[in-house]
Symmetry: C5
C-alpha cells in the first residue's frame, strides 16, 4: 500500500460544486463502458464522452456506466447533467480520497467506498444510483468488478433479473470482499513478526511493526466508515433500495463487521508486539548487564589481590613489610586464595541463577 | 485451542449464494440425525441425504435435523431447498467461521454461535429455524448437545412439551454453558501465571502471558457477538420465538454477560501481569546493578591504593619519593587503611539498604 | 475479602430450572424467619420448611421471609411452589454468585445484589417480590439487615405503614450502604500505599498494589451491575413498585453512582501508584548507577596513573625511560596530579548535580 | 484544595430520612438570611430558627433563604417542614459531600453543586426550589454569591423582575463561574511544571505532578456531574423552570462543557508530563551511563597496558622476556601508544556523538 | 499557532449579558462592512457604528454585516439591539474563545466556529443569523472569507440567488476548509519527526513531539465541537435553514468528519512516535552498555593477568614463588595467553551478535 498521503482538499474557499481534475489523476483518457441489460437482453459497449448527453434512459432495463479515470472533469459534469446529479455529489467523485459514506440526495444516491487490493494503493470507488442507473467511478484501471462483469455477460445467478439496487450490492460486495486477502496477508505478517521479535529484537523489527500498524490503520480508515455506510443503506427507507435487496446489503454489513473484527484483532496483536519488543529489549539489556557484572565481579577482586602483592614495601626495612612475599609457599597460597574467591563468586552467581 | 487462523472468505467476487465446501471440511461423510417429537411421541433416526427432499413437515410436532460435517455442499443445498432457506443463510453455514449472529429472513431465522470446549479448537454451530423445524449444523463430531438429546429421549423436563423455540434455546444454552469450564481453566492459568511471574520472570513467562492473552481474545470474539445475538432474539417480535420462551433466552443473555464479565476480569488480570513482569524485570536489573556497584565500589578504590604503592619511584633518588615504603609499619598501615575504606563502603551500602 | 473465585456454573447442559445445592453451601441447616406486619400489627417467628406450602397469603399485610443458608434446594423449591416463582429465578438463588441484576417475571420480580462487608467474603443477596411478599435469600448468617429488623420491631419511621416495595427498598439500601465502610477502608489503604511507595519501593509494595487493584475490581463488579439493576427498578412501570417508592429507589441508584465514583477514583489512584512505583524503581536505579559511575570515574583514572609509574622500564638502559621516577619530587608531584584529577572529577559531578 | 477525603455516608442501615449533623460541620451557629423581593420591593434580613415555621409564603414575590452552616439538623428539618420538602432531599443537604445532581420531587426541586474556589476546600452548595422560593445551604461562610446579592440590592439587571428560576440560575452560574479562576491557576501550574520537568526531573517533580493530577481529578468530579445536572434542568419540562429561563441554564450547561474541556486538556497535558518525566529520567540515566562508559573505556585499556609493563618477568633469564623494557625509547613508545589508544577511543565516541 | 492560553472568562459573578471588551482585543477600531444583495443587485460598503440603529431590513435581499475587531462592546450592543439578538449571544461574541457551537434563540441563531489558519493563532468566528441577515464577528483582520466576497462581487455560482442560510453555509465552509492546509502541514511535520526520531533521539526531539501533540490538541478542540455544531444545524427543523440548504451543511458536516479523521490519525501517529522515541532511547542505552561491557570484559581479565605477574613474590626465597617469571618463554607465553583470552571474549560477543 502506498505510504504517501495525498492531498484531500481543493483550495480553501473554492466555490462548492467546482469540479477540477485531481492533481494525481494523470492524463490517461477516461474510458467509459456501458452495460445495459435485463433478464433477456444484454449489451456491453464503450461510450465516448460526447455521447453522454444523449444516452437513453434505461426504461425497465438496468444501465451501468463504468467510468475509469478521473482526468477529465467535463466527463463527470456531463454525466451529472445527464442524470441530474447534485453538484456536491459530483465534487466527491473528483476530490479523492473521500471518506467512505452513503449520501441520499432526494431521488438519487451516492455511495463512496475505498478499495484496498494488495499490493495496489487504495483507490476510491464512487457509485451514483438513480432510477435504474448505476454509474461507477474509479481512479485507474484494475478493479474488483471483473466477476460481476462475467456474471452479467453469462447471465448466471439472479443478477440479470434483478434491478439497479442488486447491481449496486454486487459492486459493493466485490469491493468489500477484496479486503479479505489483504487482511489475510497482514495477519500473516503479524504472525511472522511475532517470531522475528523473539528471534532478534532489532530496531528494524520495531520499524516493521510500525509499518504494519500504519497499514492496519489505513485499512481501518477504509472499513470503519464503510460499515456505517452499509448500515445507512440498510435502515434508510427509499424506493431505490427494495426490501428484498436489503437482505443482501445486510450481508455486506456483516462482512464489514467481520473485517473490523479482523482489523481490531490484528491491531491488538500488533500492540502486543510493541510490548513484546520492549520486553525483549529489556531482557537483552539484563543479559548484557549480567555479563558485565559477572566478569567485573570475578576479576576486579582478583586484580586487587594481585595489585596488593605488587606493592613495593621495603621488606628489608622491617619484618612487618609484606612478609608473605618471602614465604616459601606464598605464591601458591595466593593462587589458591584467588581460586577460592573466583569459585565463591561463581557459586553466588549460580545460586542467583545468572549463569 | 487451535492457534492457526483459518481463511474466512470465499474468493472475492464469488457470486452471492455460491455454496462450496470449506477447505478444512475434510471428507468425512455428512451424518444427519432426525429427531421428531411431541409431548407423547419420540422418533430418532439417521437420515440419508437423498431423503431430504421428501422429509415430511413436522405437523404440530418438532423436527430437529442434526447435521454433522460440512464436507458436502449439496446436502446443505438440499436442506435449504426443502425448507426454503435463503441462499445467504446457507452460505453462512459453509463459510466458517462466521461471527456469532442472529439474522431474520422473513419466515425463518439463522443463529450462528461459536462453541469453544477445551481442549478442542473453536467450532461453528449454525441453527436454522422455521416453523416447527430446527436444523443444526456443526463442523465435526463432538458437541455440547448430548444432555439435550438425553432429555429428549427420556422426556424429562418440559422440553418435549415445548416447541422449536424451546429446542433452539436448549441448544444455544448448551453451547454457551460449555464456555464456563474453558473460562475456569483460563482463570486457573492466570492465577498460576501470577505465581510464576513472581518466582521467575523469564522470557518464557512473557510468552505464556501472551498466549493466554490470545486465548482470552479468542473467547472474547466468540462471546461478545453472542451477547448481541441473544439480545436480538430477545427484542425481536416474531412468531417463531414465543414470549414465554423469551424468559429463557433472557437467561442465555444473562449467561453471555456473566461470561463477558469473566473474560474482562481475566483480561484485566493478564494485562496486570504484563506490568508485573516488567516490574520484576526492572527489579532484577536493579539487583544486578547493585551487585556490580557494590563489588566495583569496594575493590576499585582498594585496587588504586595497592597500585599506588606498586609505583617504582626511586626512593634512593630523594627522601620525598615514597618514604612510606620504608616505614617499619608501612604495610600494616596500608592494610588497615584498606580495611577502613572497605568498611566505610559497606556501611554506606548498608545505610542505603542495598545489602 | 476472599481471594479464591468460586465456580459460577452448574454442569454444562444441565436442564434449565434444575435446583442443586451449591458446592460451598455447607450443611448448616436453613433458617427461615417470617416477618408479617402492617401499621398496627407485627409478628416475627421462625418457620420450619414443612410449613412453607401452607403459609397464608399476606392479605393486606406485608410478609417478609428471611431465608438464611442455601444448603437445602428443596426449601427453595417449596418457596418457589408456594409463591409461583419461575424456575429460572429459583435457579439464580442457588447458583451463586450471580451478577447483580433485576429481572421481571410477569407478576413477580427477582433482585440479585452482592453484599461486600469487610472483612467478610462477598455474599449474594437474592430478593423475590410478589404481591405483598418479599423473600430474601442469603448464603450464610450475618447480614446488613439488622437495622431494618430493628425498625420493623420498633415500628419506627414509615416502614411499617408502607408496602412490600418499601421493604425491598430498605433491604437493598442496607446492602448498598454496607459498601461505604468497605470503600473507606480501601481508600485509606490506597493513601497508606502512596506513602509506602515513596518510602520504600520494594517488590512487596508492588504486590500490595496489585492486591488492592483486585479488591477494587471485586467491588466494581458488585457495584456496576447494581447500578443498572436499580435503574431498571426506576424505569420499569409495574404495579409491584409504586411511583411514591421510586423516589427511594432513585436514592439507591444515586448511592450506586456515588460508590462507582469512589471506586473509579481509587482505581485511578491505584493506577497512578503503579506509575509512581515504576518511577521510584527508575530513580533508585539512577542512584545506584550514579554511585557506580562516581566511584569508577574517580578511581579508574587514578589507578591508571599509579599503574603507569609501576611499569618496569629499565631506567639504566636509557635516560628516556621513566626519568620521572628519579626526580626528587616525582612522588609528591604524582600525588598532586592525582588530587587534581580527583578534584576535577568531583567538580564535574557537582556541576552535574550528581553529588 | 484540601487533600483529606471526608466520610460521605451516615452509618449503614440508618433509617432513610434521618437527619444528623455532619461530623465536620463544627458548631458555629447556623446563620440564615432571608431575601424577599420583586421588581419594586426588596427586603433583606436575618432570620432566627424559631421564625422558620411561620415564614409567610412569597405571594408573587421571590423568597431566597440563604442558610450558612450545617451544624444544626433541626434547622434543616424546620425548613423542610415549612416548605414540605421530601426527607431524602433534606438528607442530601446534611450528608455532604453529595455528588452534584438535580432531583425532581413532584412540586419541588433539589440542586446539588460543588463549589471549588481556590484556595478553599470544596464546599457543597445545595439549592431547594419550590414555587417562588429558593433555599440555599452552604457548609461555611464565604461563597460565590456576593455579586448576586449586590445585584439584588441594587436592583441592577433583570434579576429583580424575574422569578425564582432566574435566581436559581444566577446562583448556579456564580458557583460554576468560580471554577474558572481555579482552573486557570491549575493550568498555570501545569505549564510551570513543564518547564520544571525539563530543568530538573527530581522525584519531587513527580510528586508535584501527582498532586496536580489529583486536584484535576477533584475538579473533574465536581464538573462532570454538574454538566449532567444542568442538562437535566434543560430537558425537564416543569412549571418551576420557565422556557424563557432555560436559555440561561443552557448558558450554564455551556460553561460546564467549557470547564470539562479545560479539565480534560489539563489532564492530557499532565499525563504527557508523566511521559516527559520518565523520558527525562531515561535520558539522565543514559547520560550517566555515557560518562561511566567513556571513562572506563578510556582508562581500562590504558591501565592494562601499564599493568603489562609492570610485570616482573626476569629479563636476565632470557632475551624473550620483556625486551621492550630495555629499549632506549621503550617508555616514550608506550606513552605514544597510550595516546593513540585514547585518541582512537575519543574519536569513536565522537563519531557516535556521545561527546 | 500561539501557545499561550488566553483567559476564557469574565470575572466570576458578573451579571449575565454584561458586554465588556476582551482583554486582548486591542484598540484597533472596529471595521464594519455591509454586503446587501440579491440575484440582481449588489451593494458593498463600509458602515460606521452610528449607522447601525438605522440599518434598513433586508426586504427580500440578503444583508451580511462583516464586523472585524472586538475592541468596542458598544458596537456589538448596537447590533444586538438593531436585530433583537439575545444578550447571552452577544456575550459569546466578546468572551472569546468560546467553544464552537450552534445555539438557537427562538427566531435567531448563533454559530461559533474557531478558525485555525497556519501560522496565525486561532481566531473565533461568530455568526448571528436572523431572517435575511447574517452578522459575522471576527477578532482581527485577515480571514478565510475572501473567496466568498469575490463570488458575491462577481455574482458567480448560486450564492447571489440563494438566501442567508446559503451565505451562512458559504462562510462556515470557508472557515472549515481553512483547516485542511494547517492539518497537511501538521501531517508533514509528523512524518519529518518520524525520520528525526530514527536519526537522533535527542531530548529536543521529544519536546518537538510534545509541541506537535499540543497543536493537534488545539485543532481537535476546534474541530470536535464544530462537528456537533454542524450536526445540530442539520437536524434542527427551523425556518432559518431551508431543507435545500441542509444538503450543503451536510457537506460541511462531512468535512468536519474528514478533519477529525485526519486529526485522529496524526494523533495516533504522534503517540506512536513517543513509543518509538522511548524505544530508540532504550536501544541507545543498550548500545552504550554493550560498548562498556565489551571493553570491560576484554581488558579487566587481561589486566588481572598482567597484575598477577607484577606481584613481587620473592623468587629467591623459594622455587615455588612465581617460577614463570624465570622461564625463557614466560613473557611470550603470557602474551599468547592474553591473546587467547581476548579472542575467546571476542568470539563470545560475536556469537551473541553484540559486535
Amino acid at each position: 500500500m502506498a505510504r504517501k498521503r495525498r492531498k484531500r482538499y481543493h483550495a480553501p474557499g473554492t466555490q462548492p460544486g467546482t469540479l477540477a481534475a485531481h492533481a494525481e489523476a494523470g492524463d490517461a483518457p477516461v474510458r467509459i463502458t456501458s452495460f445495459r441489460y435485463d433478464a433477456n437482453r444484454y449489451e456491453e459497449r464503450a461510450v465516448v464522452p460526447s455521447e453522454i448527453p444523449s444516452l437513453p434512459s434505461p426504461e425497465g432495463e438496468v444501465l451501468w456506466l463504468d467510468v475509469c479515470g478521473l482526468s477529465d472533469p467535463s466527463v463527470v459534469q456531463a454525466i451529472g447533467d445527464r442524470f441530474r446529479i447534485h453538484s456536491l455529489a459530483l465534487e466527491d467523485v473528483l476530490n479523492v480520497p473521500q471518506r467512505p459514506k452513503v449520501e441520499w440526495y432526494g431521488d438519487h444516491l451516492l455511495v463512496v467506498l475505498s478499495e484496498i487490493r494488495y499490493p495496489d494503493p487504495p483507490e476510491q470507488m464512487t457509485f451514483m444510483v438513480t432510477d435504474g442507473v448505476v454509474v461507477s467511478f474509479q481512479e485507474r484501471p484494475g478493479d474488483a468488478f471483473e466477476p460481476v462483469r462475467v456474471r452479467l455477460r453469462q447471465g448466471r445467478g439472479r443478477i440479470r433479473s434483478e434491478g439497479a439496487d442488486y447491481l449496486l450490492y454486487s459492486l459493493c460486495d466485490s469491493v468489500l470482499d477484496a479486503f479479505f486477502p489483504t487482511l489475510e496477508r497482514l495477519g500473516d505478517e503479524v504472525e511472522e513478526m511475532e517470531d522475528q521479535v523473539l528471534a532478534s529484537p532489532e530496531p528494524e523489527t520495531f520499524l516493521a511493526i510500525r509499518r504494519l500498524k500504519r497499514e492496519l490503520m489505513t485499512v481501518r480508515h477504509a472499513v470503519w466508515p464503510a460499515r456505517d455506510a452499509m448500515n445507512l443503506l440498510l435502515i434508510e427507507e427509499h424506493a431505490l433500495i427494495r426490501p428484498a435487496t436489503k437482505v443482501f446489503f445486510r450481508d455486506c454489513y456483516d462482512h464489514t463487521i467481520q473485517l473490523m473484527d479482523m482489523v481490531e484483532t490484528f491491531r491488538e496483536m500488533v500492540s502486543g508486539l510493541v510490548d513484546q519488543y520492549m520486553s525483549a529489549v529489556s531482557n537483552r539489556m539484563n543479559e548484557i548487564m549480567k555479563v558485565l557484572t559477572i566478569i567485573s565481579a570475578l576479576f576486579i577482586p582478583l586484580g586487587f589481590l594481585a595489585g596488593l602483592y605488587g606493592m613495593n614495601f621495603d621488606r628489608s626495612a622491617s619484618p612487618h613489610n609484606m612478609p608473605e612475599l618471602g614465604w616459601a609457599y606464598g605464591y601458591p597460597a595466593i593462587l589458591l586464595l584467588m581460586t577460592i574467591v573466583a569459585g565463591g563468586m561463581l557459586y553466588f552467581f549460580r545460586r542467583k541463577r545468572w549463569i
